[in-house]
Symmetry: C2
Subunit: 244 residues, 2 copies
Amino acid sequence: MIDVFLRKLRARHAVSDEEERVLRGILNRERRFEARQTIVHPGVPLNESMCLLEGFTGRVQMLKDGERQLLELNLAGDFVDLHAFVLKSLDHALETLSDCRMAIVSHADLQTVTEQHPRLARLLWFQTALDAAIHRAWVTSLGRRTAMAAFAHLFCEIKTRLDIVGLTSGDGFPLPMTQCDLADIAGLSAVHTNRSLQALRAAGLLKIGQGQVEILDFAKLAKVAEFDPGYLFLGDNAAPGSAG
Amino acid sequence: MIDVFLRKLRARHAVSDEEERVLRGILNRERRFEARQTIVHPGVPLNESMCLLEGFTGRVQMLKDGERQLLELNLAGDFVDLHAFVLKSLDHALETLSDCRMAIVSHADLQTVTEQHPRLARLLWFQTALDAAIHRAWVTSLGRRTAMAAFAHLFCEIKTRLDIVGLTSGDGFPLPMTQCDLADIAGLSAVHTNRSLQALRAAGLLKIGQGQVEILDFAKLAKVAEFDPGYLFLGDNAAPGSAG
DNA sequence: CGTGCCCTTGAGTACAATCAACGTTCGTGG
DNA sequence: CCACGAACGTTGATTGTACTCAAGGGCACG
């Protein structure tokens, strides 16, 4: 059931059979959500966390005048509200972007397992540290990249993260979001988002539409974006066993 | 020595005498740095982490054309590269903004302590989750707030975080940064930063200069910024003991 | 065959960048 | 003691990026 989560873990660390068994033991319930639902509200006390098995979700911050900012995109394999294990509630909302399937774990089980398996605790901690690294990459995009470069960076990130869990097909991958969603990621208007995407298409870097993206020239896209995948910690620094 | 770190911890959780003793035991070395030094370089393997005792530091991302983005501001009490304990290196640089004093802990000691004291492990994990929450607030500022509101939010955040560790004097606090640094936080030019600060002054919200900030009307500043301190987890959600 | 959602395009506006210059302060050295 | 330079803050003028407003087209769904 949680194979995709294990794939994400094993992209950075070795996971023993025993550890796998333990994780499968606590992530033993499943829940489904429809697209376009707010599934976690900010400030509400939580006593369980969810691992995304299928679909796409986003962290969202709403502002008073109806403005919306997407804070992170979550893909299958992401433990979407693991940080609630230590924070006890979220500072933001979680929304489904597509129909989703989640594995559920109680914080009580997480507590037991992390106390008995400190190395697993570090692997889980690592996952939340990865989210922070992704946030930092987005800060850089919002602050110092042009609209076109910011989108280029976003698509490089998504492609790389989906590759890890085996959810790309060649150069293509699903992306069930509207241009309004993309605008709320990049902090732009929908109109300007549309024009920036057209610029990427015109430059022959990618195709986008119908909930699908196809990267036509990843190297060039990465250059436009100044994309350095180091922040996703797939390299030697995070070789198997290094956090344990 | 690490009193300021304990004050930060105790703003959110109870810390027992035993836990305090353990933390003092491993954070037992001190190191000093001069202002304007890069003290951690991205991608370099680390086997110890540092807790800021005095001064100001920033996480920094440099781009190829010399552009610079500040990713987070760190104050006394912040465990500036604690995430390196699980990540094993950083995806960004750490720079001192002022002369700084740090307490050092080896990852070996962190591993021993977190394995023997799972509740301390969760309190430390919580600190890194807080950093992520701060990143998200910055994403929102960069994406959807006006320049003036973004700065208002920043000053509300710093004031609140410094209050926690007792480093404000009434409505004022030290902020040893140039307007160029502030520009690199907000993703703006130095010129526009200057004008935005003037707008805040003209509105009677604050005074800023000579490395000092004085908030003249916090309520109004918070309103301009849409500042909701929930993301700093000081409320009932994180009442003493709740993460343990 | 409407209706609504999404994408696209054009025209005018506003916020922020760039370029350039100048004042102030402070530390240094003649 | 004063000349000098460097770093920082401030201001004006111009350019450009991105926003807003408005309208129209394609497509799916009832």
